[in-house]
C-alpha cells in the first residue's frame, strides 16, 4: 500500500529548520556556564558578519579581553572554514579550533577552557542583523562563572554594535 496522497514526494511535506541563532541557543541551553547576548544591529548583515569573523583585525577591537589573534592554519571544507588560531589575553595565549559557516561560528579553546559562539541572521532583507554572541566554560562545575561571563558577552555585544552602527570606522577596509 502506498501512502495516500502521501505518495507525493516526501520533500513536499513541510520541513522545519534551525537557523544559526536557534542553533546557538540550543548550545547555550545545554551548557551550564553559557551566557549570551542577542540583539539587532542596525548595520548590514554582510558587513557585520565579515567583521565578526575577521579575528586578527577586528576581534581585539570589540573584545576587551583579547589583545591579539594569530591564525596559524586555514582549511576549507565545502561551505565550512576551519581555522586553528591563538588568542592572547592578558599575556596568556590560548589555542582555539574554529569552525565557520555562513552566520555561525564556533571557537573552542584547547582543553575546553573556553568556548565562543557567534551567530547571525539577516533582518529586513539584510539591511539589519540579528546577532547572538555567546561564551562559556564548557567544563563540569563551571556554572558558577555564568554571571561574570554574562557581563563579558554584554560588553562584547555592546562594542560590536557600536562599531557596526558607526560604520566600522576604526577597522581596516
Amino acid at each position: 500500500m502506498t501512502g495516500p496522497g502521501l505518495d507525493r514526494p516526501a520533500n513536499e511535506w513541510p520541513v522545519a529548520s534551525l537557523d544559526p541563532i536557534g542553533r546557538a541557543k540550543v548550545l547555550a541551553a545545554s551548557i551550564p556556564s553559557a551566557a549570551f547576548h542577542l540583539g539587532v544591529i542596525d548595520a548590514p548583515y554582510e558587513a557585520v558578519w565579515s567583521h565578526a569573523i575577521d579575528f586578527e583585525n577586528f576581534t581585539p577591537q570589540f573584545d576587551s579581553q583579547v589583545d591579539r589573534v594569530v591564525i596559524h592554519n586555514r582549511a576549507e571544507e565545502g561551505d565550512v572554514t576551519h581555522l586553528r588560531m591563538t588568542a592572547t589575553s592578558h599575556g596568556i595565549s590560548l589555542p582555539f579550533r574554529v569552525r565557520i559557516e555562513d552566520g555561525f561560528c564556533m571557537m573552542r579553546g584547547q582543553a575546553r577552557l573556553y568556548l565562543v559562539v557567534m551567530a547571525a541572521v539577516p533582518e529586513d532583507g539584510g539591511a539589519r542583523t540579528r546577532f547572538l554572541h555567546m561564551e562559556a566554560i564548557p567544563r563540569p562545575g563551571a556554572g558558577q562563572f555564568r554571571r561574570s561571563i554574562q557581563r563579558e558577552v554584554d560588553s562584547d555585544f555592546s562594542n560590536l554594535k557600536r562599531l557596526a552602527e558607526s560604520g566600522f570606522p576604526e577597522c581596516p577596509a
Partner: protein
C-alpha cells in the same frame, strides 16, 4: 555516531553541535509536518530537550528512536496539542476537518486541518515509514488507535490527491 553521542554526553560542545547538524534533516521533517508554522520553534525545543537529557540515553544505537519520541512530543506541545498519551474518545477527527481536506490545495493546508497528534501519526507512518506497532510504542497509544486514525487520515489524503 556512537562516538559522537558519547562525546556529547561528556559535554563536548563540538560534539553537541555536530549531533544537532546530523539530526537536523530528520528532526526538521518530523517537526515541520506536525508543528507546521511553529515547526522551527519545535525543532529548537527538541534539540534543547535532546541535549539536556542526552545523559539518560544509555545505548547510542537507540538514538534515532529516542530523538523521534522527543521531536513528536515537543512538536505536539508547541503546536498546542496534548502532551500526554492520546485518548481516542476525546480525539475524534472533526467532520469539518474532513471537509477541509477534501478541498484543500496542498499538504500544509491538509495537515493544518488535523490535530497535531493526528499529524504525528501520519508523519511517522508515511514519511518515517514506521509500522503501526512502532507508532503505537512511540506515541504510547494502543495500536488500534493508531490504525483507525491513520486509516481515516490517509483516506482523506487519498480522496484529495488520487486522480
Amino acid at each position: 555516531m556512537d562516538h559522537l553521542v558519547r562525546a556529547a554526553q561528556r559535554g563536548d560542545p563540538e560534539a553537541m553541535d555536530a549531533l544537532v547538524r546530523d539530526l537536523m534533516p530528520y528532526v526538521g521533517r518530523v517537526c515541520g509536518a506536525i508543528a507546521l508554522d511553529r515547526g522551527d520553534d519545535a525543532v529548537q525545543e527538541t534539540f534543547i530537550a535532546v541535549l539536556k537529557s542526552l545523559g539518560s540515553l544509555r545505548e547510542p544505537a537507540a538514538l534515532k528512536g529516542w530523538v523521534r519520541r522527543i521531536a513528536v512530543r515537543e512538536s505536539i506541545r508547541v503546536a498546542g496539542g496534548r502532551t500526554v498519551a492520546m485518548d481516542p474518545d476525546i480525539m475524534p477527527l472533526p467532520e469539518a476537518a474532513l471537509a477541509d481536506i477534501a478541498t484543500s490545495l496542498d499538504i500544509r493546508a491538509t495537515l493544518a486541518a488535523l490535530a497535531p497528534e493526528q499529524r504525528a501519526m501520519l508523519v511517522l507512518r508515511d514519511v518515517d515509514g514506521l509500522s503501526e506497532a512502532e507508532i503505537a510504542r512511540a506515541l504510547r497509544v494502543p495500536v488500534g488507535t493508531v490504525k483507525s486514525r491513520v486509516h481515516r487520515a490517509r483516506a482523506a489524503f487519498r480522496g484529495r490527491w488520487q486522480p
